[in-house]
């Protein structure tokens, strides 16, 4: 168990590609942090630098109180779970889980006991003598987890561990991994491109874009108070509606609608207004007109896709609302509206 701190970490590849811009943050002891972002945003590079599989171009990385920039991955007291599990195909599950301990010179009897414990924890006991090829995807995933757990490391690293599983199994493993981490109290860094995984598993989310941190916060903070249009559109499904509007005299105006929400006095000119699809209510007496083009049935919810003042807009309503295409009137919840700078995308 350990606190992990990154101080001014930067990664430039030999070909000049800047994978990670100068980055600093601290992960508390026992915290579950999720790095999320689109592909190529540098999240995997960041994780691999923490693991020691990638050199750090600049900055200081500390695990616990120890600077580990030049420490071999084997000596960083970490364990990593890979996307394709990276199980040793010729070894049984037992040997796969015990290999790390064996390399550290742990006595055979102790290895056997620890492997049994880990297998019991992960419901793998009956598969201990099988080879990875004889296991299902979910079981292989568990073996990879077992390999990490058995060493009782200070830090777990997960590199998109669930993306090779089918949707149902993914939901189940998500909960299992989270529960396991809670129980063991081990600090964890988890990389994913799936915002649902990020929202459901994280204590804190770090949203990355183009090698830069966009926002750090709890899932709720990230969802309700996105720091930029990027975060607003990346987190949440369906994403936040972003509408081009105009600010003047402390009011936001939109093509014929005045006073949608108050704007800071200092702001005037074009702005981007954000509103979550579920923060809109269908209301016969609503002040805003919404043209519904397509209805999407999700079971518990319905999505109404259409246009608001000629701009694409989506509304989410509960299953018991009666909906139809064509013109509808809506009300926007005032406290749920967010304003962003048009140029920088930053929140105002």
């Amino acid at each position: 168990m350990a606190q992990v701190s990154l101080e001014g970490i930067r990664k430039v590849y030999p070909n000049g590609f800047k994978a990670v811009q100068t980055t600093s943050f601290t992960i508390q002891d026992g915290e579950f942090v999720v790095l999320v972002g689109p592909s190529g945003c540098g999240k995997s590079t960041l994780l691999r630098m923490i693991a020691g599989l990638e050199d750090i171009t600049e900055g200081t990385l500390k695990i616990g109180d120890r600077v580990v920039n030049d420490v071999d991955p084997a000596d960083r007291d970490i364990a990593m779970v890979f996307q394709n599990y990276a199980l040793y195909p010729h070894m049984t599950v037992r040997k796969n889980i015990g290999y790390g301990l064996k390399n550290r010179g742990t006595p055979a009897s102790e290895i056997a006991a620890k492997v049994e414990d880990a297998a019991k924890m992960l419901n793998l006991t009956e598969y201990l003598d099988r080879k990875p090829a004889q296991l299902s995807g979910g079981q292989r995933q568990r073996v990879a987890m077992g390999r990490a757990v058995v060493r009782d490391p200070a830090l777990f690293l997960f590199d998109e561990p669930l993306s090779n599983l089918d949707a149902k199994l993914r939901n189940q493993m998500r909960i299992e991994i989270k529960a396991l981490q809670r129980r063991l109290g081990t600090t964890a860094v988890y990389v994913t491109h799936d915002q649902v995984e990020a929202m459901t598993m994280a204590d804190r989310i770090i949203v990355l874009n183009a090698g830069r941190i966009e926002q750090i916060g709890t899932p709720s903070e990230i969802y309700h108070n996105p720091a930029s249009t990027f975060v607003a559109s990346f987190m949440g499904a369906p994403p936040m509606n972003l509408i081009e509007a105009e600010a003047s005299d402390g009011q936001v105006r939109l093509n014929g609608y005045d006073g949608l929400m108050p704007a800071p006095q200092a702001v005037s000119g074009p702005v981007t207004m954000g509103v979550r699809p579920e923060d809109v209510e269908l209301d016969e007496n609503g002040s805003v007109s919404f043209q519904v083009d397509i209805l999407e049935e999700l079971g518990a919810h319905r999505l109404l896709h259409g246009t608001l003042a000629d701009q694409p807009f989506t509304v989410m309503v509960g299953k018991d609302h009666s909906v139809h295409t064509g013109e509808t009137r809506i009300t926007l919840k005032h406290d749920a509206l967010r304003l962003f700078d048009v140029e920088t995308g930053k929140v105002l």
Binding site: L53, P73, I78, Q83, N84, A86, Y88, Y99, G100
Partner: protein, 297 residues
């Protein structure tokens, strides 16, 4: 009406056409098999006759009475100028050469491929292509300088001199390189985090994963080493280093001046020389196909 007239000939013609194809296929296959199997078979039948009969009547189709005698003489009777070499010694020499070749080539080429694929060497790609172009320089091209080097090192008439100069293998390096490149990178990373250094990763992970590949290369290289003729002829003059392939000729030669050549014995020895490579290919057949076509990663 039109339908029925079209249907009938199709029904009757179809099986006949297939039969002709099958017969054709089998004819070609049988012919090929005969072509391959007849010479060894004739060697076996001829080896069962005494030298006089063979010398007078040539190749024999039927089995004679001297099969056991000829094999016995070929394997256990001392021959050559020095009267110290028998078939068993030559068989052993052939095995030393074949296995030494195969094992040496596998070790060297695996390690070379490991270095090229897994280590950030400055000129790894260049090194690989330099190794690869040595395919253009087979032994026959460089035989004089090779002989010169071995002779100056005083390695003539030694197993080292026989095996080591031919041990570097571009083919093997190439096969192992391709195989290593198809092993997922995460496996090496997982092993690194699990505390396995480069050596341990090689021994614990890479070698077991390459089993089928090793078997395939072993077959190719064993047969290659077993059949070496030119290099052993150059490098060894001492008869105790003779291999089977050379011994066959020696039997025929040494007896010519005074008496009829022992053709029966020579043919018996030829058959003995054929058995181990065939046995190895049959034994490793499954692995061989697996190694060159698929791999369980």
């Amino acid at each position: 009406m039109a339908d029925t007239t079209l249907d009938t000939p199709a029904v009757t013609r179809k099986p006949r056409r297939i039969r002709w194809e099958t017969i054709g296929d089998h004819f070609v296959l049988i012919l090929g098999s005969l072509l391959m199997i007849l010479p060894p078979l004739l060697a076996l039948t001829t080896a069962s006759h005494d030298a006089v009969t063979i010398h007078r009547e040539g190749i024999q189709l039927g089995l004679g009475d001297d099969l056991g005698k000829n094999f016995n003489a070929a394997m256990f009777e001392k021959g050559g100028f020095t009267q110290t070499v028998d078939g068993t010694l030559m068989l052993m020499n052939s095995f030393i050469l074949g296995i030494g070749f195969a094992v040496g080539k596998i070790i060297i080429s695996m390690m070379a491929a490991y270095a090229i694929v897994y280590f950030r060497l400055r000129f790894a790609t260049l090194a690989f292509w330099v190794i690869f172009t040595t395919l253009l320089l087979p032994l026959e091209v460089r035989i004089l300088p090779s002989y010169e080097a071995i002779q100056k090192l005083g390695l003539t008439n030694t197993y080292t001199g026989l095996i080591v100069p031919l041990i570097a293998s571009a083919t093997g390096t190439f096969f192992f390189r391709q195989f290593f490149m198809s092993v997922p990178e995460e496996l090496a990373e997982a092993a690194r985090i699990d505390g396995a250094g480069p050596w341990k990763f090689f021994i614990d992970i890479l070698v077991p994963l390459s089993r089928t590949m090793i078997a395939a290369i072993f077959i190719i290289m064993f047969v290659f080493g077993w059949n070496q003729y030119l290099w052993p002829t150059l490098i060894t003059t001492d008869e105790s280093f003779f291999t089977l392939v050379r011994g066959i000729k020696q039997i025929v030669l040494t007896y010519t001046d005074s008496q009829i050549p022992e053709h029966g014995q020579a043919l018996a020895l030829a058959i003995v020389a054929m058995i181990p490579p065939v046995a190895i290919v049959i034994f490793f057949q499954n692995w061989f196909v697996k190694g060159l076509t698929e791999s369980d990663k």
